[in-house]
């Protein structure tokens, strides 16, 4: 195909295929399971958090999700170029409060992600199936996610933010900096459960997907990949479905997590949505050893407090408020501070187990401050410094 024709095809697909979570689901509005996770990223403040992936609670403080979400089709992650500044959180089940993520673990083959939550949750985790990919062939499964029953709540979101232009979908006008119009439901409140039925198939059998692209992006062939045929032939997964759990329903009605929608609908770096696009589904049993290892690593890291993140959350002339997140391993916190222009005079302040501290500075005072968490065994590394100045500084 000539390059121009190919580009025309790509842009036509972008224009015509507006995204919706799992196309043609078989059931909506049933109860949202408490283990279904929606994963959010923010660059700092809690209010700017955007959902970018699904996942499943597999233990009291562990959420499994797909690495495919980090292909960042909606530029949510790229907006924060410094990955250390990103903060992740997880919403479980219905519209519950989000739980902070303290650490993210990537499987050695870069196929799956585990999010470690800041604390145990009360929600019951889903059971992870031990069946390997080839043992799952023939098994009926259900893909579970959330869709929105509300209209898109704003008129400006376009993930291709660096492009100029605007577009209109369903009588709603979308402005962006771009000519590429692709509407997705992530920033919108998700409040309906969506289920789609499928069957895991033998990839070498007659039901093998006939999409050429499916093979072209066959990233994992080491036993982690499963292939699906949807019960509804018009169904397919879209890129915003990444991380959706694939479960098998047991005879007693309980479910077991057998797989996950890992990556879908991406071609030449553009988010697309089509039955013929790449679909990468993963058998989660392949990663059971990774779960065990990640938990072991977590045990090692929990002995001593991690490096705290010290923030100035409020400034009003000489009054400053410092804040940091509580680390379970920290029994107490200590601040070291020194005048910016005379730092031989280093002093310390025992903050106890508070996580918010008000400081009153004289107009001519300015300090460099670092924070340290500690317990009877060990200390954290020092935080990165913050600079506090009085009204004249």
């Amino acid at each position: 195909m000539k390059p121009f024709a190919f580009l025309l095809l790509v842009f036509s697909l972008c224009w015509l295929q507006q995204a919706a979570a799992i196309v043609k689901p078989v059931e909506v509005n049933s109860q949202v399971p408490g283990w279904l996770a929606r994963i959010y990223v923010s660059r700092g403040g809690d209010e700017d958090a955007s959902m970018f992936c699904y996942g499943a609670l597999i233990d009291k403080r562990w959420v499994l999700s797909s690495a495919g979400c980090f292909t960042d089709p909606y530029r949510l992650l790229r907006a924060s170029r410094n990955s250390s500044g990103r903060q992740y959180s997880v919403r479980l089940g219905e519209e519950n409060d989000r739980v902070r993520v303290v650490r993210r673990y990537q499987s050695p083959d870069a196929g799956m992600i585990l999010y470690e939550l800041a604390s145990d949750v009360d929600n019951s985790p889903v059971v992870v199936s031990k069946k390997k990919a080839d043992e799952l062939e023939g098994e009926p499964v259900v893909i579970i996610g959330m869709d929105s029953s509300e209209p898109l709540g704003h008129s400006f979101y376009n993930p291709a933010g660096e492009r100029s232009g605007s577009c209109e979908v369903n009588n709603e006008r979308f402005y962006g900096a771009g000519v590429l119009c692709y509407i997705f439901t992530y920033p919108v409140r998700h409040n309906r459960l969506v289920k789609t039925e499928a069957r895991i198939i033998d990839p070498s059998g007659p039901q093998r997907p006939d999409s050429a692209l499916d093979d072209a992006v066959n990233i994992r062939t080491d036993g982690s990949r499963i292939y699906l045929r949807y019960a509804n032939p018009d169904s397919y997964a879209c890129i915003e479905d990444m991380g959706m759990p694939i479960v098998s329903v047991q005879q007693d009605g309980s479910v077991a997590l057998v797989g996950m929608v890992n990556a879908t609908g991406m071609a030449v770096g553009l988010p697309l949505c089509s039955a013929s696009m790449a679909h990468w589904y993963t058998a989660v049993s392949h990663y059971r050893d990774f779960f065990v290892r990640a938990k072991a690593e977590s045990r090692l890291r929990a002995v001593c407090p991690a490096q705290p993140r010290l923030q100035v959350v409020h400034e009003d002339n000489g009054n400053k408020q410092l804040h940091w997140e509580q680390d379970e391993a920290a029994e107490s916190y200590r601040l070291y501070f020194a005048p910016v222009n005379g730092r031989t005079d280093i002093r310390q302040y025992e903050a106890g187990n508070v996580t918010l501290l008000s400081v009153e500075l004289q107009a001519d005072e300015s300090y460099e401050v670092v924070l340290q968490g500690y317990n009877s065994n060990c200390t954290s590394p020092l935080s990165f410094p913050v600079f506090l100045g009085g009204a004249d500084q």
Partner: protein, 106 residues
């Protein structure tokens, strides 16, 4: 406000230790393993943390070394699997935890 200075205390905290692992030949079902590391600036000692990797273990052990230590040797038995990590310690503050290393017997 000038921000071209950083707190002097920060330089008193040790940096990250980078342990390396080396296995010897297994003899009678025992496999010798040696962890070695370069001295970290400002370190007054080192702590090695270890945990076995079965699914339901919660145990974390630790072993402390003096500031001049740069290696540690042990014997692994068949089936042993441990995750270990180190940190350098000083009187003011400890360094960050190293990357974790998996030790596996044959």
């Amino acid at each position: 406000m000038s921000r071209d200075v950083s707190l002097g205390l920060g330089s008193l905290c040790p940096g990250m230790v980078l342990p390396r692992v080396q296995y010897g030949d297994a003899i009678d079902g025992r496999r010798p393993v040696t962890l070695s590391w370069l001295p970290a600036d400002s370190a007054m000692g080192y702590t090695l943390y270890f945990t076995s990797v079965p699914e339901n273990s919660e145990f974390v052990g630790e072993r402390k070394f003096s500031g001049d230590a740069t290696e540690f040797s042990a014997q692994l038995l068949a089936g042993d699997r441990y995750l270990v990590a180190m940190r350098a310690v000083s009187s003011y503050c400890d360094g960050p935890l190293s990357t974790t290393i998996e030790l596996v017997a044959p």
